[in-house]
Every structure is written in structure tokens, then in C-alpha cells.
């Protein structure tokens, strides 16, 4: 793994919310086209680690480099530009509650000045895939929990970003739907996108393993470890 090629690179990263240290001495490199799962008990810091990766948090020690650039050195506009290359599925999916679902999914296009109409075909296809075509004009508060998660995933991938970070993207959907979502992520991964998914769902990880070469990272005792093949 050559340094220059890593999309996201954490080097001796430590993080603390103010109390004791939550993460310490974490180092990973995500190379383009890799597919990682991130596991660990609830409250161990998975969401925190993902936030470090897309710059919502800055490490208290160590360095985070995304696309070769140190996060600490970016100004706010550069950070915005970086976000357009990273698709994020938040654990608590949030939307603009006053815009219909289709507009919400197309929001990354809107804010980056690209015409949503132009990519209308993609949008429709994507909504079809995540099973939300019939809800296109619903407002986000009218969606079920699983529908929200699917919408968040669709919004994360609509710009076809280089990296996809998903935090528990299948916690609220049934098994069949989670297979569909996994398939979408696997397809994107095969197109060269880097994927990092935080999940508790061991069955999902197992299913992914059968389709693509997957690495499983586990947070234990504030450290990040590569989980063995025992899963």
C-alpha cells in the first residue's frame, strides 16, 4: 500500500470528546476500490471514526489525510468540495423536511450546481433500486424508518462519489432489502469506489464476504484491529 494512493489515511489518530480518550493510536489506509466493514460494540467509537474520515470531527492527535490532503489544512470551501467526493450515510438520517424525497435525494446535485434534471435518469433508476419510486413525492417525515435509511444511501451515492461511508445503513431494513442495498454497494465498489460500512450485522458482513473481498475492522479497547477470518 503506497502512501500516495490511499484515499483515506489515518495516522496515529487519537480522539477524545473531552473526557477520557475514545480512540487512540488508530492508523488505517483505505486504498481505492477497497471494501471495509467497521464493527465494535455500541459506544466504541464507530460513528466517531467515520466522522473523522469525512471531517465532521478533527482528530485530537495524529493526522487524517483524505485524497492526500491533511484535513486540518483545509479551509471551509475546500471541505465542502471534499464532501462532494465522499458520500455519507449518517446513522440518524437527516433530510430537508420541507422538500419531497426526490429533491432530497438529488440535493447533492443541487448544491453543487449540477442540474438535477440532467441526471434525472440516474435518479429514477436509483430510487427504483432502493424501492422508493412510489414515495418520490412524499416528505421525509412521512417515511418509515427503513425508507429513510434507503433514501440516505441513495443520497450518498447519487453524485457517484469516490468514497462511500455508511453508518449502520441496514439497521432498520429487512433482510431482503439489506441484500439489495449491499448489492448496490458491491456494484459501486466494483466500479472502483472505496466503501467503508459501520455495522453490527454479522449476517450482512458474511453475505458481503461471499461477493467481494472484504476487510473487517474492529474497535476494541480504543484501538482499531483487523478482525481475523473467524467471522
Amino acid at each position: 500500500m503506497d502512501r500516495g494512493t490511499a484515499v483515506i489515511e489515518l495516522e496515529n489518530v487519537g480522539y477524545s470528546y473531552g473526557g477520557g480518550e475514545l480512540l487512540s493510536d488508530v492508523s488505517i489506509e483505505l486504498v481505492p476500490g477497497s471494501f471495509h466493514f467497521l464493527t465494535g460494540p455500541s459506544g466504541s467509537g464507530k460513528t466517531t471514526l467515520l466522522k473523522l474520515c469525512y471531517g465532521a470531527l478533527l482528530p485530537t492527535s495524529g493526522q487524517v489525510r483524505v485524497f492526500g490532503e491533511d484535513m486540518r489544512g483545509l479551509d471551509r470551501d475546500q471541505m465542502a468540495m471534499l464532501r462532494r467526493r465522499i458520500g455519507v450515510v449518517h446513522q440518524d438520517c437527516r433530510f430537508l423536511d420541507h422538500l419531497p424525497l426526490a429533491d432530497n435525494i438529488a440535493l447533492p446535485l443541487t448544491v453543487s450546481g449540477r442540474e438535477a434534471e440532467q441526471e434525472g435518469g440516474d435518479l429514477k433508476e436509483l430510487m427504483e433500486w432502493v424501492g422508493l419510486s412510489s414515495r418520490a413525492s412524499a416528505l421525509p417525515p412521512e417515511l418509515s424508518g427503513g425508507e429513510r435509511q434507503r433514501a440516505a444511501l441513495a443520497r450518498a451515492v447519487i453524485m457517484s462519489p469516490d468514497v462511500i461511508l455508511a453508518d449502520e445503513p441496514t439497521g432498520n431494513v429487512d433482510w431482503e432489502m439489506s441484500q439489495r442495498l449491499l448489492k448496490l454497494l458491491v456494484e459501486l465498489n466494483k466500479m472502483g469506489k472505496t466503501v467503508l460500512i459501520a455495522s453490527h450485522d454479522l449476517a450482512l458482513i458474511r453475505a458481503a464476504k461471499s461477493q467481494v473481498s472484504v476487510r473487517v475492522l474492529r474497535i476494541t479497547n480504543r484501538k482499531l484491529q483487523l478482525a481475523g477470518a473467524d467471522l
Binding site: A80, L107, P108
Partner: protein, 299 residues
């Protein structure tokens, strides 16, 4: 704030405008605050301008501030008048002095003796109008000199009576401007608070936008634009109602003094037009600051 940002504020980006929820109570609040305060400002402005005009008029009249009264036997009167005028002309601080004509004296006495008064029949004193310069003359010194040289002269200084009225009109004008400042300050504070309230109510919108890669300017602009237009629109409506209200007040009349003349005259009409611009400006600045403060909390 760059020029480009200001330009696009007014040209508008329909896409950016959509990302902010269209309405809600803080929206109505902004519109209403701006309108109501503009309305009140119009009245305070009318009051200030009217009392300003009054103070000016009274101050001007105050300039003709003193009368010299010469009571003397008919045969000495002309001589004493001449002497008094000579002294007055020499007195520093007196701009001009002039003996009133018979007709003027008759007009002044008309309320007492009727308009058909034959002033020659009466032992009426000769009156001299004294107009002083701004710092004024030394009344005590003048009296001393007059008593020596013109025994029949009495200096009647009106200043004592009129000065407080002018002061009063000036203090009413000051009150009006203080009211305008207070209303303006209160409006600015309320619009700022309303903008902040709206932004904190929309924290999720800002967070989502930032998450999907929107730049600060894009986010700030959507809010700034909306609030500026709202405050401006509200103020326009408020000013319109205010002007209508001022027009409906009883109009100025010569007899009624200033009080009924609570209106705008001539170029005064331009003042109320400033209100919406100021309101919009305050909203612009307040929202811009609030938006940037809100954004700073997010990475």
C-alpha cells in the same frame, strides 16, 4: 461579503432559495416586526420633522426679539426716538433697529382698541423693533445707557417669553429623533433575534446542506436573501400604512399652530423612503452574521 455575493443576492438563485423552508412563525415575525416598526417610525419621523419646522419658525421669530418703548411727551418723542435709534445702532450685538410705523402700531393694538383706531388720538408710546445678532447684546448695559440718554425708553425683552417655547419645540424634535433611534435599535435587535431564532430552528437544514457538500456562501445566501427580502417587504408595507395614517391626520392650518401640521412637506417625503432600505440593510447584516456564526459551529 464579496460583491459577487451581493449581486447574486438580488438576482437570486431559485435553487438555493428552495433549500430553506418557506415559512413558519419566525418568517411572519420578521415581516410583522419590520412592518410594525416601520409604521411607528413614520409617525415618529412626522413628529420630529413637524416640531423641527416649528422650532425653526419660532427661533426665527425669536430673532425679532426685543421692543423698545418710548413714552414721552409728544413734542420730545421724535427726538428721543432718534436718540434711541442712534444708541441702538452703536450697540454691539444689535443687528438692526427700526421704529414701527403708525400703521404697524395700530395693527398691534387692534385687539384692544378695534381696527378703526386713530392712533394719533392716543398717547401711545413709540415702539422700536430691535433685531439682535446671534450672541445678542448686553441688555443690562443697554438699559443703563438708555436710562441716561433717553429717559422715556423702556426695553421690553421678549426673549424671556419665547425662548422656552423654542426650547420646547426643540425638545419635542429631540424626543422624535430619540424615538426613531429607539425604534430603529429595537427593530434591529428584533430582526437579529428573529434571524437567529430562524437559523437555530433550521439547524438541521444547515447541517444537512453542509453534509452534502454545500459551500458556506450557498447556505448563508439562501437565508440572507429570504430575510432581507422579508424585512424589506415588511418595511415597505409598514411605511405605506404609516404614510396613509399621516395623510389621514387633520391637515395643517394656519390657525392651529403646528400641532395639526403633522405631515411631510416637500423633500421630507424622501425620509420615509429610507426606512425600508435601512430595514433591509439591518436584516441583511443580522442574517449574514447569524448564518456565519451558525455555520462556524459545523465543520
Amino acid at each position: 461579503m464579496s460583491r459577487g455575493a451581493i449581486r447574486s443576492l438580488f438576482l437570486g438563485d431559485p435553487q438555493a432559495a428552495r433549500v430553506v423552508p418557506p415559512s413558519g412563525f419566525t418568517a411572519h415575525l420578521t415581516l410583522f416586526v419590520s412592518g410594525a416598526m416601520a409604521f411607528l417610525t413614520v409617525f415618529a419621523l412626522a413628529l420630529s420633522l413637524a416640531s423641527g419646522r416649528l422650532a425653526d419658525r419660532w427661533a426665527e421669530e425669536l430673532a425679532r426679539s426685543a421692543t423698545l418703548r418710548i413714552t414721552a411727551p409728544m413734542d420730545q418723542r421724535a427726538a428721543q426716538t432718534e436718540a434711541a435709534l442712534k444708541i441702538l445702532r452703536q450697540t454691539p450685538g444689535v443687528a438692526s433697529a427700526r421704529a414701527l410705523t403708525k400703521e404697524e402700531q395700530a395693527a398691534l393694538l387692534a385687539p384692544w382698541f378695534g381696527a378703526d383706531l386713530q392712533i394719533e388720538d392716543l398717547p401711545v408710546p413709540q415702539l422700536i423693533e430691535v433685531i439682535d445678532t446671534d450672541p445678542g447684546y448686553d441688555a443690562a448695559g443697554l438699559r443703563l445707557r438708555l436710562s441716561a440718554e433717553v429717559p422715556g425708553a423702556v426695553l421690553d425683552d421678549h426673549t424671556r417669553w419665547r425662548r422656552p417655547l423654542v426650547d420646547a419645540a426643540r425638545s419635542l424634535r429631540r424626543l422624535g429623533w430619540i424615538a426613531i433611534l429607539l425604534i430603529g435599535g429595537a427593530t434591529a435587535a428584533m430582526i437579529t433575534l428573529a434571524a437567529n431564532a430562524a437559523l437555530s430552528a433550521n439547524a438541521q437544514v444547515i447541517e444537512v446542506l453542509r453534509l452534502v457538500g454545500a459551500r458556506d456562501r450557498y447556505i448563508a445566501q439562501a437565508f440572507v436573501r429570504r430575510f432581507t427580502l422579508r424585512a424589506f417587504g415588511g418595511a415597505v408595507i409598514g411605511v405605506a400604512f404609516g404614510l396613509a395614517g399621516v395623510l389621514l391626520l387633520p391637515s395643517a392650518s394656519d390657525e392651529g399652530g403646528f400641532l395639526t401640521g403633522l405631515g411631510f412637506q416637500g423633500l421630507d417625503w424622501l425620509w420615509p423612503m429610507l426606512i425600508p432600505l435601512l430595514g433591509g440593510g439591518v436584516a441583511f447584516a443580522a442574517t449574514w452574521l447569524a448564518a456565519h456564526r451558525a455555520l462556524k459551529g459545523l465543520s
